[in-house]
Amino acid sequence: MRQAEDLILRDYIVSAASQLNAGGGTNGFNPSNLGVSDFSLVATTLDTNNAYKFMSGIEGMDRFGTGPVRSAYFMLSSTELQSDFDTLVGSGFLSQWNYPTNASALPSEYGSVYNIRILTSSEAPVARNAAMNNQGVLNDVYYNTVLGKQAITHINQDGYSMNLIYRDPYYSGMLAQNATLAVKFAQAQAITQDTAIRNVLSTRLSNLGV
């Protein structure tokens, strides 16, 4: 129900936050696919800028196949990059199911690399066919937003939050009923600390499934 707000905030961030091009990948595009060095670089940048991390670390436990997780910023990324993240297993990427405990993992959390925990969504911003390599091959450009806790805020204006508007179905035709379902809200977004947010642009290594 809050998807409209999410999309507005998403596009605001795409427009207003500064960008880094990924260069740690191997696919030959600019930006490249995400490599572990890109995660390291952006986390270092945010650390240097004194950004607050969202999540505390997860201490290692005596469980097979698990490993400790660092305190981390969030990265909002596309589900289409999940297969790319899988290629980083063993070189820095820790799948969410390899956390010592999933108690603090979010439902949309795919895993973590160094100081960044990755949340994926099909609604993440992507510019289709916006990059071309020196062979003339096109690739999509993904906006992976990495942010610290103080980076953005969401303001509900006029002292109210979202209202759900629902009118019962009424008879209007032989086979159809007419109803209204809508939401109404007054809100705004703001970047509260521009030094604590970066859009890491990347292309994709893997082919897309259909």
Binding site: D11, Y12, S15, A16, G23, A130, S172, N178, D194
Partner: protein
């Protein structure tokens, strides 16, 4: 079957443009829905037929655009010829009637890819010192000054070409129907190789228009030049949409030189971001900031092709939490003007928003349709948007059923 169909109609008087000479600016019609069919009636040109007049135009989202010489056309128009008798014509995708919706800032127009078909070929010459760089297209590019494009590829070999320009949004200044310039300095032949000249081989590249570059502003702009001094002058690659009083920050990757402008790290006061204020707006892509950069490292626009993988670009960012942008009220100006974009020169295009502090972040998104300002395919002196003073009626529909 009309339970969920949406219909709207309206009219307006065209502002700008001269019949057979020039087009008015694109007209945005905001609606509570995104139509799938739009028709236009230019009442004035219907009643007073004259050559190049377009009395009727139609657009249907369900109709597949027709490709002619690698350009797609989807708006059908009726144009008066010299007699004047009505003939049919068309307007390219995005240049005639098109719809738009909030949250889709990353939409592009058709791709003009070198070596796909001859009509899509283009070349880029090295600029003179300081730029701008001139792009020449094989056929009419269809752009208007103020439009924004991006490049892709631009390799000659893996180590030569102009891939440094890739992905940067550039505002174009139209010179002729087949030439335009972009604000970038490619004069140094050590770093830039002219794209697709008569002697070059192996060129790979494309360009495409960014259809809605300013749905959110002010935001992040790429920097094309920095003039150091007691104040600092910043040139951007597309419209910055800043106003006097705007607080700004910089992101200058080290290879571009002027890293002292970066908001962090601050070597004097660790942890305290360095910000500047816009003290003058020269034009759409030039602002003056109150930072004394006399002793700073010179800006370096020359990046090697080899450095392109992973190359990040210098940016100026609206900080947003502090701005004092105001509007001077003079005779005849509205007391509560809506925020505006400035796509080219000092032109101001008002947004649909109500009054707001100039320079504050503007969500300029909406939905509806646009009556574009691109010329018709055959009669290139006719524009669907009409001419100054014309009465234009429009009807927009969103149908329950559309087959297909």
């Amino acid at each position: 079957m009309a339970e969920y169909s949406r219909m709207a109609k309206g009219s307006y008087t065209v502002s700008g443009g001269t019949l057979g000479v020039s087009a008015p600016s694109a007209k945005i019609i905001n609606l509570p829905f995104k139509p799938d069919y739009v028709e236009l009636i230019n009442v004035t040109q219907s009643i007073t037929p004259a050559q190049h007049g377009i009395p009727f135009a139609f657009w249907d989202a369900s109709v597949t655009p027709v490709t002619v010489s690698n350009v797609q056309y989807d708006t059908i128009v009726e144009v008066f010829n010299a007699t004047p008798v009505l003939t049919t014509d068309s307007v390219r995708v995005g240049g005639g009637i098109s719809t738009f919706s909030a949250g889709q800032m990353l939409q592009f127009g058709p791709t003009y890819k070198h070596n796909s078909v001859a009509s899509a070929d283009f070349s880029i010459a090295l600029s003179g010192a300081g730029g701008p760089t001139t792009v020449t297209t094989a056929t009419a590019h269809g752009l208007t000054s103020g439009d924004v494009i991006i490049f892709e590829g631009l390799f000659q070999t893996s180590t030569t070409g102009m891939p440094q320009l890739n992905g940067i949004p550039f505002t174009v200044t139209v010179l002729t129907s087949t030439t335009f310039t972009i604000p970038w300095d490619t004069s140094n032949a050590t770093f830039y190789t002219a794209f697709n000249t008569s002697t070059s081989t192996g060129n790979i590249g494309a360009w495409k228009q960014v259809l809605y570059p300013y749905l959110y502003f002010p935001g992040t702009s790429f920097i094309s030049g920095i003039t150091l001094g007691t104040t600092t002058t910043i040139d951007t690659t597309d419209a910055h949409n800043f106003v006097v009083g705007q607080e700004v920050a910089f992101r200058i990757p080290s290879q571009w030189g002027t890293v002292e402008l970066n908001s962090l790290p601050n070597t004097l006061s660790p942890g305290s971001p360095v910000y500047g204020y816009v003290i003058a707006v020269t034009d759409y892509n030039t602002v003056v900031v109150n930072i004394n950069s006399s002793a700073y490292t010179a800006f370096n626009v020359n990046q090697t092709v080899a450095s392109v993988p992973g190359l990040s670009y210098p940016q100026i960012v609206a900080v947003g939490d502090v701005n004092t942008g105001g509007v001077q009220i003079s005779s005849g100006s509205p007391l509560y003007p809506s925020p505006y974009t400035s796509p080219i020169g000092t032109t101001r295009v008002s947004t649909i928003n109500g009054p707001a502090i100039q320079g504050a972040f503007v969500n300029n998104t909406s939905q509806g349709f646009i009556i574009g300002n691109k010329a018709s395919r055959t009669d290139t002196s006719s524009w669907v948007g009409g001419s100054n003073g014309d009465i234009m009626e429009w009807r927009a529909y969103l149908h329950d059923i559309s087959i297909p």
